[in-house]
């Protein structure tokens, strides 16, 4: 055996021949039982499935006949190398196979039958972790904002959203989603909210952050108004794009990831505030997803400091930028864990974590967090833990949790 075969040969030597999520998460289930999560509402505001595995089903939902033909050909035949309907990203999320659920994912067995494989897999890890409800997002589509053809983003977004609502959200009420918005086309974005805003399981809408759209463009105002009227939050889901000119200067994925997954959201958040959008849409709830939280005090301090000198550039604002940021929502993952917990404590205080922070796992992605990340923190009160793990999300999404917790 050559050492170069080690990753794969060692994987094949694993106790299980194929991946079994429940077995991989045995220790998570132990945490669940030791901490008695069954009495605790846990809502995961950001987790994923791999929609690429259902791509053939999804492209059948494309409405434009010419594009649908093209997508079907690319998916069933094509060169087999790549499909332009789900562009991949250069990257090493699996740490070269070290995070074994990546290379082994396809080997996991699920029963054939009525229940979609993605529902089965999602419920498997939810149950192991003790999670009651999730907000499910796609994976490769997170990169769709950098697709050069806006019409591909629009068509794929509609096809995916139709497929997701009909096959996943309608069939499993513990799985919710904030639907993908084709944000590079403001009119199609508006229509998406109009058409899907009242669908079962749709608790909001989501913009993938790695793109160059200007969130303050007048073309988006009707969408924000509609969302505000519907009472549905707007989320920005972080992502990276290694081809972005500044990220292209990084040569190790650790830097690409650590920076990429924060700075697109930081730019959108700064633009959102200095253009006075919180003043124009005071009831619209904004969620920043998957950037961790260490950036929040950083941006608050930067903007407040500049604002005191340059308030003439953002005359709409009626209070400090940080005060608007304190009214926004943030998902916790990947929660930075400084050795000195007082740093985290200060961050929580600055962002009003007790009411604004939402636990998220990001499972099955490589830097996932378990509920214990919050539950075990000695710096949080019991109530704060309950809020962050589930209660904040319950009120934000106005979720009826009585099926899991009958009165």
């Amino acid at each position: 055996m050559s050492w170069y075969e080690l990753p794969t040969s060692d994987i094949h030597k694993m106790a299980v021949e194929e991946l079994d999520t429940s077995k991989l998460l045995t220790n998570a289930a132990r945490q669940r039982d030791e901490r008695n999560y069954k009495d605790l509402l846990i809502i995961d505001v950001d987790c994923h499935h791999y929609e690429n595995e259902s791509l053939r089903e999804i492209v059948d939902y494309i409405e434009d006949p010419v594009m649908k033909h093209s997508a079907q050909m690319a998916t069933t035949g094509g060169t087999g190398v790549q499909t332009s309907f789900l562009p991949g990203l250069v990257g090493y999320q699996d740490i070269a196979g070290r995070v074994t659920r990546y290379p082994l994912r396809k080997s996991e067995k699920t029963p054939t039958g009525k229940v979609h494989r993605d529902v089965t897999l999602t419920l498997r890890w939810m149950d192991a972790m003790g999670v009651d409800y999730v907000c499910l997002f796609p994976t490769p589509m997170l990169a769709m904002g950098s697709h050069p053809q806006t019409e591909v983003e629009v068509n794929m977004a509609r096809a995916y959203n139709r497929w997701l609502t009909e096959n996943i959200l309608y069939t499993e009420s513990r799985i919710k989603s904030m639907l993908y918005l084709p944000f590079n086309d403001p009119d199609a974005t508006y229509k998406m909210v109009q058409d899907f805003g009242d669908k079962k399981g749709v608790v909001g809408f989501m913009v993938t952050a790695s793109r160059y759209a200007q969130v303050y463009d007048n073309a988006y105002m009707k969408t924000y108004s509609l969302l505000e009227e519907l009472g549905k939050p707007l989320a920005f889901h972080a992502g990276y794009n290694w081809s972005d000119p500044i990220l292209a200067t990084t040569n190790r994925f650790i830097a690409t990831h650590a920076l990429g997954f924060t700075f697109f959201n930081i730019v959108h958040c700064a633009n959102w505030i200095v253009n006075g959008l919180p003043v124009r849409f005071p009831k619209l709830k904004i969620i920043w997803i998957e950037s961790g939280i260490a950036w929040v005090p950083w941006l608050m301090q930067r903007l407040d400091n500049d604002y005191k000198m340059r308030s003439s550039e953002c005359p709409s604002l009626k209070k400090l930028p940080s005060e608007y940021m304190r009214e926004m929502y943030y998902t916790s993952q990947p929660l930075e864990m400084p050795d000195d917990l007082s740093v985290l404590e200060t961050t929580f205080k600055m962002m009003n974590a007790e009411t604004q922070l939402l636990w998220a796992s990001d499972y099955p992605h490589w830097d996932m967090d378990l509920p214990s990340k919050i539950y075990d923190l000695p710096i949080l009160s019991e109530q704060a833990k309950r809020n962050i793990l589930g209660e904040n999300a319950r009120s934000l999404f106005n979720l009826d949790t009585s099926p899991r917790f009958p009165k």
Partner: protein, 123 residues
């Protein structure tokens, strides 16, 4: 307190670069045979509690820097093997159980004994 022995395997059934996982109470112990030695650690990662011993065993990756400080690539160091937790990739030095990126974290280590043809861990 007297230590208990947990049977791991017969020596002939435990080859170089192999790992066995044996149950111990509410958890497990991962036993490794590598570079001619035996090691045993609790199957519980110091990060988020993942099954550290159910992942890969990888040689350490090292940077190749020339005398003039120019970067020449990377290589594997087969003398230093790492237990890699499959949940997020924390790497532990097989010899000590210390987490290589921050050595204050470690896996709980157990003693391994060989008696005759049999291998045991002491708990």
């Amino acid at each position: 307190m007297t230590q208990k022995e947990i049977f791991v395997a017969h020596r002939s059934e435990f080859k170089e670069r192999e790992r066995k996982i044996v149950p111990h109470g509410n958890t497990e112990i991962g036993v490794y045979r590598a570079n001619g030695k035996l090691y045993a650690y609790q199957n519980l990662c110091a990060h988020q509690g993942g099954p550290a011993c159910e992942g890969l065993l990888m040689p350490k990756v090292e940077e190749v820097i020339a005398r003039d400080q120019t970067y020449q690539g990377q290589k594997f160091n087969y003398e230093e093997l790492h237990i890699v937790c499959p949940w997020h990739g924390w790497e532990y030095d097989l010899q000590t159980g210390e987490m290589v990126a921050d050595r204050k974290f470690r896996l709980k280590k157990y003693e391994v004994v060989e008696r005759g043809e049999d291998i045991y861990v002491l708990v």
